[in-house]
């Protein structure tokens, strides 16, 4: 007589035991969490990349800010850049403003498509 014979009745009972009925919405929940799950807006590696750049930028900013006479040097450098770019002239600033404004308005224009869509 084997152990299997000893437990024959119990085995029969186990085999006849019905499985638990899953709740009605379980399949839908699983499908929503898997195949119908929307792609994440940002991938993990993108988050890491942006985080690294932000960290580097913060570190550089801290280095610059903690340098001796940082405020004065910043103002001085800004003034020199403004002079070099000609931005100390009101006329230049006005024309740059007009250019940016025109570019923005042109980007907002829409044109009808030249191709007609044939509807069958």
């Amino acid at each position: 007589m084997t152990h299997d014979d000893d437990f024959a009745d119990l085995d029969r009972m186990l085999a006849a035991l019905p499985l638990e009925e899953p709740p009605a919405g379980l399949r839908a929940r699983i499908m929503t969490a898997t195949v119908f799950r929307p792609e994440p807006a940002v991938r993990t590696w993108e988050t890491w990349l942006v985080g690294t750049f932000v960290g580097l930028a913060a570190w550089l900013a801290w280095l610059l800010a903690s340098a001796p006479n940082a405020g004065e040097r910043f103002v001085d450098t800004t003034n020199r850049l403004i002079e070099a770019g000609g931005l100390n002239s009101i006329t230049t600033v006005m024309w740059v403003g007009v250019g940016i404004s025109a570019a923005w308005w042109i980007s907002q224009l829409t044109f009808p498509s030249a191709r007609r869509i044939r509807i069958r």
């Binding site: 186990l14 499985l19 195949v35």
Partner: protein
Amino acid sequence: MVAALAVDPPLTAPVVDDQALIAATLAGRTEAFGELVTRYERAVYHLAVRTLRDRTEAEDAAQEAFFRAYRALATFRPGAKFSTWIFTICYRACCDRLAKRKRLSGDELPDRADPSAGPEALAERSDDAVRLHAAIDALPEKYRAVVTLYHLQGKQYEEIAAVLNLPLGTVKTHLFRAKEQLRKALSP
């Protein structure tokens, strides 16, 4: 010119094996994974209910198991059994939850309130099934898992050992002791 829709051939074969469904899922056919869910949802949920003894938590564990399986589907070893794989994932998810419970309560909670096992639900089942379910639930966790997988997978001890990550001999010993305890609990 109207472009013809590229329609995949339907999965109409009466029995499509799990490997084919996995390949179809990896190829982007959502209905193939749906078929896998349909096939194993009940068994996975059953394993979770018996392991956790809590239907709400079991529902979450079953969902988590399918989610983990879906994400790792590309790593599924061809030739392996999907049932063994999904049961393994489900059992691990349940063990994680049991460990969390132990951390929170200091010990495994003996039983949880089971809202769906009310008098009406119990009346629908036969007496034997009710008594057997109660006896299985009263088993220690390690025996309960072996008996539940024995119920789900039949006498495939190697599969049970793979799911529980236990040596074959230990599985047989646990099963023998579990059956002894069940027989004792069911004897009048």
